[in-house]
Symmetry: none
Subunit: 139 residues, 4 copies
């Protein structure tokens, strides 16, 4: 089970990686194994709607058990499938990189979502965040 302290570590390390990489202002969310928000931070200068995008990346990952890259591949192969998924989940899934599954001993214990720069850069920063908390991560 993810703790708030782990979530804080993940967010701080993701943001630090973003600064190190010179990325645009990031927004970072951590969800628990049920897809519910544990912690979120939006850096100064990010656009106001970033909570929803960060949430959508992480929510799809944990609800489907499928990280952002796998969701994107599915969306590109079968756009209608991800559209249908969004019907089921109330339009809350954003199927692109930056949504990352968090595992401990092979079990999914939550997900994180990062948004603000390119999807690939968002995902790279996210992986650094998960690593700082000692978690296995799949982008």
């Amino acid at each position: 089970m993810l703790t708030l302290e782990q979530a804080q570590t993940i967010i701080a390390a993701t943001r630090a990686k973003g600064r190190e990489m010179g990325l645009k202002p990031l927004s970072v969310i951590v969800l628990d194994a049920g897809g519910h928000v544990l912690a979120f931070e939006r850096e100064d200068g990010a656009s106001p709607g970033r909570f929803g995008i960060a949430h959508g990346k992480a929510y799809g990952a944990v609800m489907l058990g499928m990280a952002g890259r796998a969701q994107m591949a599915r969306a590109e192969a079968q756009a209608y499938f991800m559209a249908a998924v969004n019907g089921v989940y109330g339009g809350q899934v954003v199927p692109v990189p930056g949504g990352v599954l968090l595992r401990e001993n092979g079990t999914v214990i939550g997900a994180m979502g990062v948004t603000g720069d390119s999807s690939d850069n968002d995902a790279e920063a996210a992986l650094a965040g998960a690593q700082a908390a000692g978690l296995d991560a799949e982008a």
Copy 2:
């Protein structure tokens, strides 16, 4: 304009006050002047749905320019009015104490929402959080 650093200060001080008062696990949100999420934390042991309650307390405050106690008074005098407000704002308003307006030089710069204990205790912890960030707060 609220910064993320101010939001972090508010959340940490609210949580510290909750521990000092011996409250149940708290969830604390800070919204900007447009009602958009800046930061959120949910303490371990809190129920999973607390993001929505914290958000609803803060969202109604900033969108209506009316803190939680004033919203509660209006809901008790005119239940149908607050029901209608919730229709307008997509059901996102929770009109009870714990929703706190944050002001700087008289101008509303955001709102915070606290949930987890009684509404009055939530509001008391929130005020301590706002004070730690040097902001005028109205519960």
Copy 3:
């Protein structure tokens, strides 16, 4: 049929009346006979969510053909009826004074909504606005 020029006159005169009465910052909307937005202005210092409240007051008026005071009386007598109306109209009706029907030669040609001060003061400013445009108004 309401013109944009009439809507501008209504809004300007409502705002002028608000200043004359010393009211809080007002938000004023004018809808056409089909309930669609013609014009809107939100005064500096008003809370960000005022569009939805102004819209809800005017929308209920024109869709039901019933001004704000009549809607409020109905809500107080039969809260469940106005709740049901809001189910039908997607939660967009705010049944309190400040929603005003606009008539020309006895025919409803639109509605206006005012919010920002007490509902009664909102309605009084609205009537001054409608009068400036030479329209019969029912608050």
Copy 4:
């Protein structure tokens, strides 16, 4: 922070440009930095649903921090991404030119949306409106 007076200037100048260019009736909206409506006008002869289109162009711009042309490019490259964004933002994003970011000293202070003619003409009129208010604009 955008004032109502600036919003009025933007709308008047956009409409004047539309008349000068011989465009169809325009509808023009100005949103604040949080995506909330400051002012709107719909010219006589425009179809009744234009508020929603104008709003959708401006809303996407401010919430994502991405103007209409950039949104359109993303929609053409990754249609499923903009579909997902619309799920997150409640279907309120219209990703085509005419949605314009408004900046002051490099900071986004709001957005405007114009609809009624071709998207490119809408955007050209919008830029004239922003310029009249002395703002940097990105279409």
